[in-house]
Symmetry: D3
Subunit: 119 residues, 6 copies
Amino acid sequence: MKNRYEFGMEMLRKVDGQAGEEVVAPLGDLGKILAEVFGDIYGRDHLSLREREIATIAMLTVLGKEPQLKVHIRAGLNVGLTPKEIEETIIHTVPYSGFPPAINAMNLLRGMNVQNLDK
Amino acid sequence: MKNRYEFGMEMLRKVDGQAGEEVVAPLGDLGKILAEVFGDIYGRDHLSLREREIATIAMLTVLGKEPQLKVHIRAGLNVGLTPKEIEETIIHTVPYSGFPPAINAMNLLRGMNVQNLDK
Amino acid sequence: MKNRYEFGMEMLRKVDGQAGEEVVAPLGDLGKILAEVFGDIYGRDHLSLREREIATIAMLTVLGKEPQLKVHIRAGLNVGLTPKEIEETIIHTVPYSGFPPAINAMNLLRGMNVQNLDK
Amino acid sequence: MKNRYEFGMEMLRKVDGQAGEEVVAPLGDLGKILAEVFGDIYGRDHLSLREREIATIAMLTVLGKEPQLKVHIRAGLNVGLTPKEIEETIIHTVPYSGFPPAINAMNLLRGMNVQNLDK
Amino acid sequence: MKNRYEFGMEMLRKVDGQAGEEVVAPLGDLGKILAEVFGDIYGRDHLSLREREIATIAMLTVLGKEPQLKVHIRAGLNVGLTPKEIEETIIHTVPYSGFPPAINAMNLLRGMNVQNLDK
Amino acid sequence: MKNRYEFGMEMLRKVDGQAGEEVVAPLGDLGKILAEVFGDIYGRDHLSLREREIATIAMLTVLGKEPQLKVHIRAGLNVGLTPKEIEETIIHTVPYSGFPPAINAMNLLRGMNVQNLDK
């Protein structure tokens, strides 16, 4: 049976891809705890991975946490969000936290050269 | 053709029910602007109302905006989220903003006597 | 010559009126430091008291610090802002931090029965 | 008659100058919404553009939104604030959100080589 | 051997006393996760419980999370902080996040009738 | 007798070393006020410099103020914290503000090449 860390790392690879491992690797004990808690939460029922990433992209936008937002834009694409849906999630934050966080998130998204945003 | 305010109020009633009108009524010009922008955003494509409310509940939890969270828990139920899904959205915020905002949101949710959270 | 504390208390009374003393009184050493720093800042040149209170009401709105916002709404009136100008300052925060802080500030303002907001 | 977007872009050019257009251009739909809401708010009465920029610089300092602060320091100069008044607005944030946001804003201001701050 | 939850609840009782159980009880799955992570973190080496509570009281003050601050003021007393040391921790936040959070925390502390603050 | 500014600069040099002077120098009047308030607070009794830096590192982590965090990691080492204790302070923030601020702080700490974190 997998322990919490192994399960968490597997879930991180599934959701975040290569970037998940790169986040954890340099963090020492904090990385281990991150992987464990990530597995605890993302392994739960009641929300799909797609719904979890919509919530996560919205939260990281309003919190202004751009390094993590970059990882979760990739994660959103991994679990099936389209670039348009990610853009829309960022636009949806405007009534709740105003333009500055949304502008910064949108510039980050558009700088990642994700396709098809202006079709 | 409906103007922005009329469309926004219609969207507010659809999403937030009675609570939407009660939020807007005492706010004067701010209420008018709120209704208009709400309609502009919630009337857009690319995300379902259900997905918009998952994002909104997550954002309001991490922002600690409890009066608005209360309105959007009701809105979430209106657009088809189950109590379990709302609870899970709150739990999903923990890795991103820690326990205090999640605890406060959960106590708010549980104080609203939404059914079936512990089945 | 007045010392920093005496000058600060005088400035607090001038700007915040009676409420300034009521804020400081129960706070022990923190109240003393607050009065001193308040005097240091509000006694400076380059901005009028009216401009300082516009900035302060905007900041306290976006920071969600309602007990202090209540004091500074009164302070704004003391230094010559009209109720309409205070309402407008709250509305002006919307593009920068979204609706929830502005709604909470507006409900606070309107609950204080300041006159003439809907004329 | 100008529509909301056209009026908003005109207001953006008036307040933010060239920088306003550069902010909006890469943002797709978000840029359009930004211009519209900017026009809705900045076109209102009760506060002068000068007072609006004092409030905006104070808010963006406490929110730590440096890309937008840079735009609004230029906007402040456009609408008649002196470098000294902008510096003073940043100093005025200290009692409300402490030194770190004020230090970061001041370093940004001083890095823009706005004249006369130490005369 | 105790599992994570049992260890976490034991640690919560040790640090927070009765209040720890009262926080966890109504929270369902979130309470279980809270107890587990609390045990993971507070059971680590390198900082004493006294040092952990100084950090926690400072963080909860700047975050404005008053229900949790109330629990951790009691926790601080449990692990050996004096009322004066808790007061000083709140005063120490002033340069980092300004007066409003410190004032709110101090009023909370003083409302709990902890002894000896003004001796 | 030293005035507030001289005492504050002395305290800044003692706590932050060379970095303290480099923070203050380019800030004009803000730097003077910073030095004075720093001295007022750090010269108080009831907490050791070591305890003050634990609180400060925790606060700056949750506030996401990385330029100031960098200065206070050096300050922590100056007043006797070990690299392991600083790492542990960052890990201790996780339950209170989640992983993104802790990850950013840990990457900052590890990028400073402080010794012995993985022994």
